[in-house]
């Protein structure tokens, strides 16, 4: 970790720091994004939060602050930024309620198959919105980043059993809500057998 960055770094030191910054971004930016996304279910907002968190990390380095665990620091900052967004005036007085967006991102006419998928995604999004944030955290890390239960537990600071339990609960609820769809017809409450 760079130390004493308040002073103007010489070029080799600056390039080394930049390389470390790039490496941290490469390894942890998707995790940061996943947690921000799980908070608001908005991919663009999550990406903004991610970029802002990394910029703040850089500023911390520049001010000479020592950060022992950059990954944990980034995740904490991302969570705080996402929570701050909840308090922002734009969020409170937004021009459109989230349900109007409904997960559909394009006004262009879509082929029937894509349209059906978009509708299914929109339905899924509605159900995900109703889940607790903890459940969404687990689902996002599991399905967006393909993390296993151990890694999710380590990242979220919970035990592995809790991860399995959350995942099972979330999947069960999703299966119940999607039961009307042909592909998710009730065949017992699935999901118990899938262990990440």
């Amino acid at each position: 970790m760079p130390q004493g960055a308040a002073n103007l770094p010489d070029p080799p030191q600056a390039s080394a720091r930049r390389a470390e910054f790039e490496s941290l971004y490469e390894h942890h930016s998707r995790e940061v994004w996943a947690l921000a996304y799980a908070r608001w279910m908005d991919p663009d907002l999550a990406l903004d939060v991610t970029q802002e968190a990394f910029l703040r990390l850089w500023k911390q380095w520049e001010s000479g602050e020592e950060i022992q665990n950059p990954r944990a620091w980034l995740l904490r900052v991302a969570r705080n930024l996402a929570e701050d967004y909840a308090k922002s005036a734009f969020r409170r007085n937004g021009t459109q309620p989230p349900e109007l967006l409904n997960g559909v991102r394009s006004s262009q006419p879509l082929p029937a198959e894509l349209l059906e998928k978009e509708e299914l995604f929109a339905q899924l999004r509605t159900i995900l919105d109703e889940l607790s944030q903890g459940d969404r955290d687990v689902l996002t890390l599991r399905y967006a980043l393909d993390y296993d239960a151990n890694r999710i537990a380590e990242l979220l600071g919970v035990n592995v059993t809790a991860v399995h339990m959350r995942l099972s609960r979330a999947r069960q609820r999703l299966a119940e809500r999607l039961a009307g769809h042909a592909d998710f017809a009730p065949n017992g409450h699935g999901g118990q057998g899938t262990q990440p």
Binding site: Y25, L124, F184, G191
Partner: protein, 144 residues
């Protein structure tokens, strides 16, 4: 595990959904402001004549200085040329004499004015209006 079970379908759906939410390609790291700030300019001055002429700011300054010098020189030259040098020195030695006394005279010399009148009287023709009319002889003799 059978891939057609609802559980697998739900897995696929969730995987497709969450992966579709992630940008592809994944955007690169943000550019910190310290890196984005323009680097301090390091100027290597070329002090040779050719270097001065090829250096754009220096050449512009030289051109501006030359233009101002030419402008000031022109103004000085024109103002010095338009001044009547003879006015303040009527009896300057070595100066060629003019036939007109006014060129060497002043407004206070009455003798000069007299001279001017004389010269005018000799040089000017009489005004036709001042010449008395003479009767024209009748060529046909009809009118006495």
């Amino acid at each position: 595990m059978n891939s057609n079970t609802p559980s697998d379908a739900l897995d696929r759906l969730l995987s497709d959904y969450f992966k579709a939410q992630m940008k592809r390609p994944w955007p690169g790291a943000p550019r910190p402001t310290a890196q984005a700030a323009p680097a301090r300019r390091v100027e290597v001055r070329n002090t040779t004549a050719a270097g001065l002429l090829t250096n754009h700011p220096t050449r512009a300054r030289i051109t501006l200085a030359a233009s101002v010098a030419i402008l000031l020189g022109s103004c000085w030259y024109l103002s010095s040329e338009s001044q009547p040098a003879s006015r303040s020195a009527p009896d300057q030695p070595g100066r060629t004499s003019s036939p007109l006394p006014l060129e060497t005279g002043t407004a206070h010399g009455p003798e000069v004015l007299e001279k001017v009148k004389e010269i005018k009287a000799t040089q000017t023709k009489p005004d036709p209006a001042d010449v008395p009319m003479t009767p024209i002889a009748d060529p046909f003799g009809k009118h006495p």
